[in-house]
């Protein structure tokens, strides 16, 4: 299994290279000449040529890519166009908030999906199952921004227990911080929870019907033990598999949720960069966001190898 994990980690390299290539080509394919935009009305042919050679823009595109990649690895991600601040520093400042959102949403999703999915599968085609499945169906059909607005209407404007939007750092006190993070996390978590609930139910139903579960029952094991120790443990494997995929959706979801609730995370940083056409910042945003997804998938694959000893990763 160690060989498998090493191989899986090595596979990171081509994936990340592929991502940098896409990001580089994205910025290359945006119409407009950066030098022309930079010089504006002071544009003169020889100045432009000098600048192009200064920034290496007259080199062939693959050379430009390699030079850019070299700077990237050394931690030089360029400077924001408007503020002149280094992009990497800015991203590292915004990243923790988004990671907290993603992690919190994941916990909420599991806290909803595991009990709801298990109860549904233990008593399928009963009112409790139908209720859970209807809720899940509505949940997967609700866009995050709409769900967020409904939560604001209920908890902020209706009950008045949580702030409408805004952000307070941990330094302002844990209570303040968490009350501002609660709605964004709930919004993201409930949508993901809806998808996971359906999945947990489906996997459980498949496992519960199997012979070994009946064997456990016939040996006199308590139903509770049968469900949790025998069935649930095996049903968990496909659930873990899709967790990586869910992180991908959460990365997308943070962009929306941070916009609605004005949370200064990576998503908001990226959207601001896009609307102000700050391309170094846009590049950093895409790079880091997709890396989160890639790393989450790696973690899930490694976890999967541990959880599922039936699969041998020998060759």
């Amino acid at each position: 299994m160690r060989a498998y994990i090493i191989r899986r980690i090595l596979l990171l390299i081509p994936t990340l290279l592929g991502i940098t290539m896409v990001v580089f080509l994205t910025i290359q394919s945006i119409p407009g000449d950066p030098i022309e935009a930079y010089l504006g009305e002071f544009y003169e042919e020889d100045v432009a040529t000098a600048l192009r050679s200064h920034y290496g823009l007259d080199r062939p595109i693959h050379v430009q890519y390699l030079l850019w990649l070299g700077r990237l690895v050394r931690g030089d991600w360029g400077k924001e166009v408007l503020s002149g601040l280094p992009v990497l520093d800015q991203i590292l400042e915004h990243l923790p908030v988004s990671l907290e959102l993603i992690l919190g949403a994941m916990i909420v999703a599991l806290m909803v999906a595991l009990p709801a999915g298990i109860i549904s599968s233990v008593r399928p085609y009963t009112p409790s199952d139908y209720t859970a499945m209807t809720g899940a169906m509505v949940g997967i059909s609700t866009p995050e921004f709409f769900g967020g607005i409904v939560l604001v209407l209920v908890f902020s404007l209706g009950l008045g227990v949580l702030p409408v939007q805004g952000y307070k750092p941990w330094s302002a006190g844990a209570g303040e911080h968490l009350s501002h993070m609660a709605l964004p996390i709930l919004t993201l978590g409930l949508t993901r929870g809806a998808i996971l609930t359906r999945l947990v139910r489906g996997c459980m139903l498949e496992v519960i019907g199997q012979d070994y579960v009946n064997t456990a029952r016939s040996k006199g094991a308590v139903e509770f033990v049968v469900i949790l120790r025998h069935a649930f443990k095996n049903a968990l494997i496909p659930v873990v598999t899709v967790m990586g995929l869910q992180v991908g959706f959460l990365v997308g979801g943070t962009i929306i949720v941070e916009t609605i609730f004005s949370v200064p995370g990576l998503g908001q940083y990226g959207i601001n960069a896009i609307s102000s056409r700050d391309y170094p910042a846009v590049m950093g945003f895409i790079l880091v966001s997709s890396s989160i997804f890639v790393l989450a998938n790696l973690t899930v694959d490694v976890l999967y190898a541990y959880l599922n000893p039936r699969i041998r990763y020998d060759n």
């Binding site: 994205t26 609700t142 866009p143 929306i256 916009t259 959207i271 896009i274």
Partner: protein, 316 residues
Amino acid sequence: MITEPDRRESALASTGQVDGKPASVLESPYHDGEDIDHQNMLSLFWRSLRRSKTAVAGLVIVVVLVLVAMSADVIAPNSYQDPAGPGLMPPSIEFPFGTDPLGRDIFSRVIYGTRVTLFVGLGSIVLAVVLGIPLGVCAGYYGSWFDLISMRFMDLILAFPTFLLAIVIMVILGPSTANVVLALAVVRIPIFARVVRGSVLAVKEQEFVEGARSVSASDFRLLFLHVLPNCLAPLIVSATISIAFAILLEANLSFLGLGSQPPTPSWGFDLKQNLTSLAVRPFNVVAPGLAIMVTVLGFNLFGDGLRDALDPKTRK
């Protein structure tokens, strides 16, 4: 030597049409011609679809939406572009969903919005299917370097979070309805290419394909007459659910201002526009969001029902 029943059975099995119960339906095609075979498969499919209440509910929602989109000019009481009354009117008989800050009738905008939503949802998935099927068929059937390269490329697309990639494409192409269709098609191509490739790999080694090859059927004929029809079931299901997914993505993109541009009525964009009046006129803000939810729900329910109807394992 391949006998006729063998071929039929495997064709039926992989479209999920064998469940032991309606034996008469399965027997007749062996003796009758192609047309009757298809008719029976269709009616069997239709019967099991009708049994599912959720599928019928989904189908009804989808059909109603299509009708609304087609007759928007007749149904909508007001223009979607020009102010119809004072701004921020509460919901009333004249303005069922109230008016937006510019005084435009939200109900009419929601009705016209079905056009954009359905156009993007259906258009992007049709495009993804049209591009994804040949890709998956060729990768699965011919294998070797083409398979390797095209599938690595699909992996690269899937290495990005879907919504992020859609945003990236919109940044390159610039915001417009047509570009949304293109962006959502690109992010969805790998799904179809993979489904088809998987099915082709499973089907191509089966005896009836070998049989067709032995009577020197051309590759094209083999692929599109013998191999592809056997992949249809998973394809139809994932296409239907993909439409729901595409509509969600479209809503998210236009919520960020990266989708259809004004004055084109788009539900996500409208919701964002009216957001500032949430405390004053909550229903006016929520109405387009409800429309998105109902639409996505319709396609999801229909897709779920289709899956159950086509999958013999879940059919009761």
